[in-house]
């Protein structure tokens, strides 16, 4: 007996397995980043003084990165839409674009961090910087994870388009949900850290 509902949705829930699975995983990620936001709130409200993000962080670079990430979210959903329209080459372009934009995000981050280190600013410098480095660092690790998954699906994983196109399309949808979530976290991280 094969495992059912890997592609076709189950009638009463209306979902295929991985769709439920990824949303459950994203729920856990909400709690993960939620704990960091909660820590930020607790440390900030308890601190006699707290630096302004726009004073101490490169908000211009971060604005650029925000646009980069939002764009990568668009290319990601377009990758899935392309597959839904059976256009494999468009899919490759869009997913490739997503990966490149994600790499660009990390490159910018690299310059941002190294500039800070150069100025003698480290996570240990203060509670503000501890929070900044940890939250953006964990977020960055999630970007890296997304790059690896998307890279696999762009490369060797794309073979599944030939053998089981519906299942492959679902995989891209699932990867997309993860990627949009990573974008969503940044949408909150960016103003909270850089603009307040």
């Amino acid at each position: 007996m094969q495992i059912p509902y890997t592609v076709a949705p189950r009638q009463d829930t209306g979902l295929f397995n991985a769709k439920l699975g990824i949303w459950l995983f994203l729920a856990s990620e909400v709690m993960l980043f939620g704990a960091l936001f909660s820590s930020l709130v607790l440390l900030r409200t308890g601190a006699p003084e707290w630096p302004h993000g726009w004073d101490h962080l490169d908000w211009k670079l971060a604005t650029f990165n925000t646009i980069v990430l939002i764009s990568s979210s668009v290319t990601m959903v377009m990758a899935w839409a392309s597959l839904m329209m059976k256009d494999f080459s468009k899919f490759r372009i869009y997913l490739g674009g997503t990966i490149l934009l994600a790499l660009l995000f990390l490159v910018v981050k690299y310059f941002e961090y190294t500039h800070e280190f150069h100025l003698g600013i480290f996570p240990s410098t203060s509670a503000f910087f501890a929070v900044y480095f940890t939250m953006t660092g964990l977020h960055g690790l999630h970007i890296l994870g997304g790059i690896i998954v998307n890279g696999y699906l762009w490369g060797p994983g794309a073979r599944m388009w030939k053998t089981d196109p519906a299942r492959f399309t679902n995989r891209i949808e699932i990867a997309g949900l993860y990627w949009h979530f990573v974008d969503l976290v940044w949408i909150f991280l960016f103003p909270v850290l850089y603009l307040l």
Binding site: N17, A27, A35, L42, L43, G46, F122, A127, T134
Partner: protein, 583 residues
Amino acid sequence: MDHVATAGHHAHEEILPFWRKYLFSQDHKTIGIQYGLTSLVFLLFGFTLMMLMRWQLAYPGQPIPFVGQWFGEANAPGGVMVPEFYNQLGAMHGTIMVFLGVVPLAVGAFGNYIIPLQIGAPDMAFPKLNAASYWSYFTGGVVMLSSFFVPGGAANSGWTSYAPLSTIATQGQTWWLLGMIFLITSSLLGSVNIIVTIIQLRAKGMNFMRFPFFVWAQLVTSFLLLLAFPPLEAAGVMQLMDRVVGTSFFMPSGLVVAGQPLTNSGGGSPVLWQHLFWFLAHPEVYVLILPAMGIVAEVIANNTRKPLWGYKSIVYATIFLGFMSFIVWAHHMFLTGMGTTISAFFQTTTMIISIPSVVILTALVLSLYGGSIRFTTPMLFATAFLPMFGIGGLTGLPLGLAPTDIHLHDTYYVIGHFHYVVAPGTIFALFAGIYHWFPKVTGHRMNESLGKIHFWGSLVSINFIFMPMFIQGLAGVSRRLYDGGQQYAHAQGVLYLNQVMSIAAWTLFVFQLPFIFNFFWSIWKGEKSSDNPWDATTLEWQTPTPPGHGNFLIEPVVYRTPYEYSVPNASKDFTPQTEPEKA
């Protein structure tokens, strides 16, 4: 017994090499067994750590007999345990029992093996993820155990790893944090798998109110793991940052250690660690108890030849319990200087959460009434669970109310309370589960006489370990004292109990030997079992023994509720869930 669905070998099933069939198997039954064996080893190891601690508590400053020389000069010069080593044993005993022993056994082993069978599914929803979960757990375990061998030894700041002590602790704490990251990852992947499996892969006719209660218990447990663990993962990362990179998430300003002021930035909050830790660790205790209640329910219904009393009440109570478990955590923190409003809030929610626990326990007790009880070994353990859990639960009440908690917090009373729920509570239930499902997994029955010796010896000795703890706690003996309270005037009157408890602990170990022997011997030499030796109604007993890959050849169809025992006018005293209603 009739097989609604049999699983044979498909004609084109590939022959897998050893490493793929056993080591990196994706079959939920193999993975369940992997979890089971690994967790039993960890349980034994954690038990051994406790036996060492109990020597020091009973005979402080005396060299440990026979094995004292093995621990080296750093830990036990001349065989006498140093306090630092005692603290390692304490922290690792708790960590190993909870995270490497009980939960992997209750959820990883029993959950993985039984859930797909009970809901009529061919496997878990994500077999590769399942294998990844197990190996992540295994890796976490290796990391944890390795920490004993690094300079300074294993983690020694309690299983609770409170900052700032844990931040300045020896290297082993870093290993603890890394180990926890692997374990939490394993848990998260596993909980996603269980939830999707239960909701999506249940067979036709298996609607939610036809689930065996075991399945409900695992479903709610998995939601707890899914949503409560991530904050601890975040906290673990932050503590790692504090230790390795010098941040001050949990380090307040102005700390002085050994006469030297610390040079970190300060401005952190030790209480923040406690909030994030207990946000997980409170739901964690329901993770420890719910699968156990699930097992007890199955065993009781089967051995009373009666449906469970109040199935709906138990289900709703479990759901309510799961929800409430997220908003009671700070009852572990009453003494941290919290304001009276928030204290009142947590006291209230804590009192409220006792209600569903009582509902479930009462329903299970009422399930015995009027039953034709067969006191098989699983039934003995399941029945004993009830009063033992009752004691554990009742003793929690003064802890959940701040005024009484002021006196009892961090004393042996707490240790007595939580051990009652976990040891003669959960672990007894897990034993019941092992004896109950062993025939399905191995095709053999465990020996009943050895089982009864195991049961009675364990029941008596375990009470002699934990009951005196209430007395010591009420007398004011603090926990985590390596000399068991010797130095305190207020403890003198109850010190003799240390010896009582230690002898009881070593006796408890002796009574595990028949179990260990029985377990392995019966795999090969136990009395051969039929497919449904207990005449049970639930789906796992309608498969061949052991079930083949894919479990069911044709999708089973469910027509009935899970406990149709002694139905009037039925031909047998049990009716399997897959048996259609009479035409």
